[in-house]
Symmetry: C2
Subunit: 251 residues, 2 copies
C-alpha cells in the first residue's frame, strides 16, 4: 500500500474559480465570501490573483510582512503557522487545514507575527483585506461566519497553552493526533468512523508543535507503536486503539 499524495498543479480541476470541488468545512468561508461579494458593487474581484496560488511542500507561503493586504484561506493541503526564535528554533502555533483562514486577526490588522509554511503542497486563495473588511461590515451573516472561525482558532490556541503548560510529552502527542483526526473528520477528509488518515507531518513538525525535540518525539512515537496504540508508515497514520489513545490524551 504505497500511498502517495498527488502533487497539486494550478490547473488541476480543484483550482477552478468558485471552488466547486472545494473540501468545504462546515463554515465554508470561501463560498460565503464569494457569494457576499457577488452582491457588492465592485467592478473587479475581491481576490488577489484568482484562486490559483500554489506552493510546494516545505516552502514558505507567507512571511510576516507578506500578509499586508491579503487574507489567505487554505483550499488544499496542510500548512503550519509558526513563530521563529532568534536562535533558529521555532514554535508552531497551529496546523492549517483546508477551509482554514490563516489567521482571523488578519481581517482587521495587516501585521502578522507569524509565518506560514507549507507542509504538503498547498493551494490557497487570497482575498483583499480592505474589500473583505468592507463586506464584513455590510453583511452580518459574513461576520457571524468569521466569528465562528475566530472562536475555533482561539479555542485551539487555548488548548495548546494548556497542553504545553501542563501535559507530558505522551499526552501532547496523543492529543495532537486526536485533534487532527477530529478536524479531518469534520472536514470530511476522513470518513466518519474511520481511524486511518493521511499524515504528512514530519517528526520535526510534531516537535515544533508540541514544544519537544525531534529526538524525543521519535522515542515517544516508537513507544506508541510498540504498545500497539497507533501505526505510522508511508505518511499514513492508523489509530489502532482509540480507547487507550483517548485515555492517554485525557479526553
Amino acid at each position: 500500500m504505497n500511498v502517495r499524495l498527488k502533487p497539486i498543479s494550478a490547473d488541476s480541476p480543484q483550482a477552478q474559480p468558485g471552488c466547486a470541488a472545494c473540501v468545504a468545512n462546515e463554515l465554508n468561508l470561501c463560498q460565503a465570501v464569494s457569494e457576499a461579494c457577488a452582491v457588492l458593487p465592485w467592478g473587479e474581484s475581491i481576490e488577489i490573483g484568482g484562486s490559483n496560488h500554489v506552493v510546494p511542500a516545505r516552502r514558505i507561503v507567507f512571511r510576516e510582512h507578506d500578509m499586508r493586504d491579503a487574507v489567505p484561506i487554505i483550499c488544499e493541503g496542510w500548512a503550519a503557522s509558526a513563530v521563529l526564535l532568534p536562535d533558529g528554533r521555532r514554535q508552531i502555533l497551529s496546523f492549517l487545514l483546508p477551509g482554514d483562514i490563516v489567521s482571523t486577526a488578519l481581517l482587521f490588522d495587516a501585521r502578522a507575527s507569524c509565518l506560514v509554511e507549507a507542509v504538503t503542497d498547498v493551494r490557497y486563495r487570497a482575498f483583499k483585506r480592505p474589500e473583505l473588511k468592507a463586506a464584513l461590515h455590510k453583511r452580518p451573516d459574513l461576520l457571524e461566519k468569521f466569528s465562528k472561525a475566530w472562536i475555533d482558532e482561539k479555542a485551539r490556541a487555548d488548548q495548546l497553552i494548556v497542553d504545553l503548560g501542563r501535559r507530558s510529552a505522551e499526552q501532547r502527542l496523543a492529543r495532537l493526533i486526536l485533534g487532527l483526526h477530529e478536524r479531518l473528520t469534520r472536514l470530511g477528509l476522513v470518513p466518519a468512523g474511520a481511524l486511518e488518515m493521511g499524515f504528512p507531518l514530519r517528526q520535526h513538525h510534531i516537535a515544533d508543535a508540541t514544544g519537544l525535540t525531534p529526538v524525543h518525539v521519535s522515542t515517544v512515537l516508537s513507544e506508541f507503536r510498540k504498545s500497539g496504540v497507533v501505526k505510522i508508515s508511508e505518511r499514513w497514520l492508523t489509530i489502532l486503539d482509540p480507547d487507550r489513545l483517548r485515555r492517554v490524551a485525557n479526553r
Copy 2:
C-alpha cells in the same frame, strides 16, 4: 513602606455609573459601548445589574457556564482566566487587567471554556450579550474597537504558546514580568518610565501562568533577587536592572 491595596466596595467613587474615574486603556471599551448604546433604541440598560459587581480576592468571578449571556469587562483589580485539569492542576491563560474584556469570544458565543478568578478585589461591568452583539452590527466603530481587543488577546495567547513551548523557566518569568509591566504602563497604572509596580500575584499564580511548579518559581525568583535583577516585597515589584531582565527575556 507597608503598601496595602484598599479594598474595593460597591459604592466607592470609581463605581459610579459611566465609569467617570475609569482607568481607561487606549481602547476604553466600556466607554465606547456606553456611548454606542445611548444612541440605540432600547428602553433599558445594556448592562446587567449596573456597574457595581464586586468580587473579593481569591474568589471565582465566573465559572464556565456563568457567562452564558454576559460579557464582562474588568474595571478595577487583577483577575486570571484559567483552565482546570481533572487532577486539580490548572493553567492560567491570561491575566486580566482593568479595561480588559474577559474574552472577546464571548461576544459571539455563549460557551466559555475557562473560568475567571479574582487575584485582587475586582470590580467589573457585565454587558448583555445579545444587545451588545446587535450594537456591534450597527456600529462599525464598535466592531473596530473590539477587533483591536481581540487581536491583542490573540497576540498574547500566541506569545504564551511560544514561551511555554520553547523557553526556559528563567525566560518565562522575565517575560511575564516585562509583559505585565508594559501593559500596566500602557494603562497608566504605572507612570511612564517608572520601574516599580504593585504586584498582587502569588507565586502559585505565576506558576500556573508559566507552566511551572510554585517551588521552582520560588527558586528562580530568588536567583533574580540575589543577582539584583528585581526586588519583590510586600506585593510590590521593582525592576532594578531592566537591561539584564530584557536580555534574559530575549526582548
